[in-house]
């Protein structure tokens, strides 16, 4: 087990190296960079001279765009990373690691609340759909959740905004808090935040419920076909006992592993949903940094995402062994 984990972690370093190489190359290929964008207006007015631009580029490490320049830039970045330094964000003017750690909690909070609702709704739906396979109930649940999966997040969010925020006026259109509550602070501020994130959470839940429900349904069906369920029925147990005591617990095995895999990715932020609702989450920050050509932040954020997804797979594999003693890792 320990040997397996060590092997996986070593492999993870290789993967992360590859990911960073791909992203860095692509980012550096963009001909317009942060300095150009930032000073385009001043340059055309003549208030900033060409030499100043070049000097700034040298400071930001963007001056040499040849092949070797990019390679050198990459290894500089990598060297800093190994010393635990993700660099300074151009756009937010703060260390990248600080910007990430300050803002990931907003994204985490929204994603976490959404995850709780998602599990609470999807699991019962999946179980009933499986126990009433091919009934009207099964079809209704399947069709509704499939419609949920098929929505592009921005479109669903736009409809929610149009109906509930614009037409009905129940919820604020965007942002995380009103100016008034930001001043008062305290409990009012907290409730105002909740009020602002209801629509984003609904979007997240509706869009992701489908796949979890399908997963639960498939697993329950598999468990219901198992021999021990036949034995339980043959013993003359009540159907409810068979399902909720014998089948349901075994249905949870793959769900727990799935959960372990999802947990790290809760920090990654939902870029499009945060952008539509203008939430100050990490996804939205990354989107803006992306537009501004903020290389250290783009690199830092993408590496953060890659680490989270590597961590997710590793956790879910380990969890598999923990919850199911029949599985052995090699």
């Amino acid at each position: 087990m320990v040997k397996y984990i060590v092997k996986r972690i070593l492999l993870a370093f290789l993967i992360l190296f590859g990911v960073s190489l791909i992203i860095y190359t692509l980012v550096r290929l963009m001909p317009t960079d942060f300095v150009d964008q930032q000073f385009a207006a001043q340059q055309s007015q003549g208030s900033v001279k060409e030499e100043d631009i070049q000097r700034l580029k040298a400071i930001y490490g963007l001056s040499d765009n040849s092949f070797w320049g990019i390679i050198k830039g990459y290894f500089q970045w990598l060297g800093n990373l190994l010393r635990g330094n993700l660099g300074q964000s151009f756009k937010y003017n703060a260390p990248v690691s600080k910007v990430i750690s300050d803002n990931m909690w907003t994204s985490f909070f929204i994603a976490f609340v959404a995850l709780i609702f998602q599990f609470l709704i999807a699991i019962p739906l999946g179980v009933t759909a499986a126990t009433h396979q091919y009934s009207a109930r099964d079809y209704t649940v399947t069709v509704l959740t499939m419609i949920g999966i098929s929505f592009p997040s921005f479109f669903f969010a736009a409809i929610l905004i149009k109906v509930f925020a614009v037409d009905l006026g129940w919820f604020p259109i965007q942002g995380m808090a009103d100016a008034s509550s930001t001043e008062t602070g305290g409990l009012m501020y907290f409730f105002d935040n909740i009020h602002h994130i209801i629509l984003p959470i609904i979007t997240l839940v509706v869009l992701s419920i489908g796949s979890l429900m399908r997963y639960t349904r498939t697993n329950t069906l598999e468990v219901l076909n198992a021999d021990y369920i036949r034995t339980a029925r043959a013993k003359g147990l009540k159907e409810s006992k068979v399902i909720y005591k014998h089948a349901f617990r075994n249905t949870l095995i793959p769900l727990v592993t799935l959960l372990a895999g999802i947990l790290p990715t809760l920090f990654s932020g939902a870029m499009i949903i945060e952008q539509v609702f203008s939430l100050p989450g990490i996804g939205n920050l990354a989107y803006k940094a992306q537009i501004a050509g903020d290389i250290p932040f783009i690199m830092g954020y993408n590496m953060f995402l890659a680490v989270l997804s590597v961590l997710g797979t590793l956790l879910s594999d380990i969890m598999y062994v923990v919850v199911d003693p029949r599985v052995k890792l090699t």
Binding site: S150, P152, N225, N302
Partner: protein, 379 residues
């Protein structure tokens, strides 16, 4: 002579039975395999009759088709997809009143009424409503009418026509991307699974890297790269296809490799080995066809998710660019102009609905195919 012919006949039957059982094994369907075998066993007792005459066998393909066409949801999906294809490919031919990028210069009268207070000579104040008729040269943002069935957008283009052209782009992109992904995935996954050892190690590490690359952020980077290179808007979709393929092939490769690892241990592969077949023949004639079931399912579901990725990218303004229409591009306007989101839903709702319908249809078909191909599912 007759005997010899019968011998050949019998061996042929055995051959096909073996092939069938092999492919059934690949599908893992023991029940149906037994059914086919038991149907055929009594045959050798009557050697003079042609063996196939009194036995009705269904090929695995026919069995799958039968199960597929029985499921109502996949039929709904299939019908939806056919309708969407007709709508976007035949639609503009029949309904050619407006072009994709044709602006309606028919003009538009905007009536602005504002109350003003007027003071007359006696000093009496009275309120008058001033009605101004503003004439605009371009018919922008007009609500649905007989002239424009779904109204016009901000540039005065007919929304109904544009969603038809948008469908062409969105559907074509997703189909081509999935095909390219499959070709790349089958080749690389096939090599990894068949040769194993270091080939497998190298390819699978590359697959690991690609499946760890965050898709959406990387698509954004790639989209802004296209912006920076000032790629011609009409060529842009081809670049988009390459980018989407580049990011999406790893899943297919993983499926193919896993399946081939399992299949190459099967008896019929040992037989193929013993018969001295060439490597290419073994891979493409015996292994790949047996991977097809899983592949078709993942391809169909991949069509839906590719449409979603393309739409998200276009929505963020980094995919297909105006004046060309794609479903996502038509929703992009709400990021620039909030008033369109609030007051002109006819501009962005129709294309969104079509995205949902297309993805839903592909999901229904994919799900139906998965059930039809899954031997464990019994009805």
């Amino acid at each position: 002579m007759n005997e010899e012919k019968d011998m050949r006949n019998a061996s042929e039957v055995l051959d096909t039975a073996a092939a069938r059982s092999a492919s059934e094994l690949a599908l893992g369907n023991a029940d149906e395999m037994n059914a086919i075998l038991s149907e055929q066993t009594p045959a050798p007792e009557t050697p003079n009759e042609p063996l196939d005459a009194n036995v009705k066998t269904l090929s695995p393909f026919m069995l799958v088709m039968k199960r597929f066409f029985r499921s109502r949801l996949s039929m709904v999906g299939l019908a939806l997809i056919i309708l969407l294809f007709l709508f976007s490919f035949l639609g503009p031919v029949i309904f050619n009143r407006w072009g994709e990028t044709q602006t309606d210069y028919g003009g538009k009268e905007e009536i602005i009424s504002a109350p003003i207070t007027v003071t007359d000579a006696d000093g009496n104040e009275s309120e008058v409503i001033q009605v101004t008729v503003a004439k605009q040269p371009i018919n922008t943002l007009s609500p649905p009418s007989l002239k424009h069935w779904l109204g016009t957008d901000k540039a005065g283009m007919d929304v109904f026509t544009r969603i038809m052209y948008g469908g062409r782009i969105s559907l074509t992109i997703s189909i081509l991307v999935v095909l390219l992904e499959t070709i790349l995935g089958v080749i690389l996954g096939g090599l990894a699974g068949y040769f194993g050892k270091w080939v497998d190690q190298v390819i699978m590490r590359i697959v690991d890297i690609f499946s760890c690359v965050p898709t959406l952020p990387l698509l954004l980077i790639a989209g802004s790269l296209l912006d920076a290179w000032k790629v011609d808007p009409s060529l842009r979709i081809y670049y988009l296809m390459i980018i989407l393929t580049f990011l999406g092939w790893s899943g297919t490769a993983r499926i193919v490799r896993g399946q081939i690892l399992y299949l190459r241990e099967q008896e019929y592969m040992v037989a193929a080995e013993a018969m001295g077949l060439s490597t290419a023949r073994k891979i493409f004639k015996h292994l790949v066809p047996n991977v097809m079931p899983q592949l078709i399912v993942s391809m169909t579901l991949g069509l839906g998710s590719t449409i979603l990725y393309e739409a998200s990218l276009s929505y963020l303004g980094l995919g297909v660019k105006a004046p060309y229409a794609a479903w996502g591009t038509m929703i992009n306007i709400i990021t620039e102009d909030v008033s369109v989101l609030q007051y002109n839903p006819w501009v962005w709702v129709p294309s969104g609905v079509l995205i949902v319908l297309a993805v839903l249809a592909f999901n229904f078909i994919g799900d139906g195919l998965r059930d039809a191909l899954d031997p464990k599912m019994k009805r």
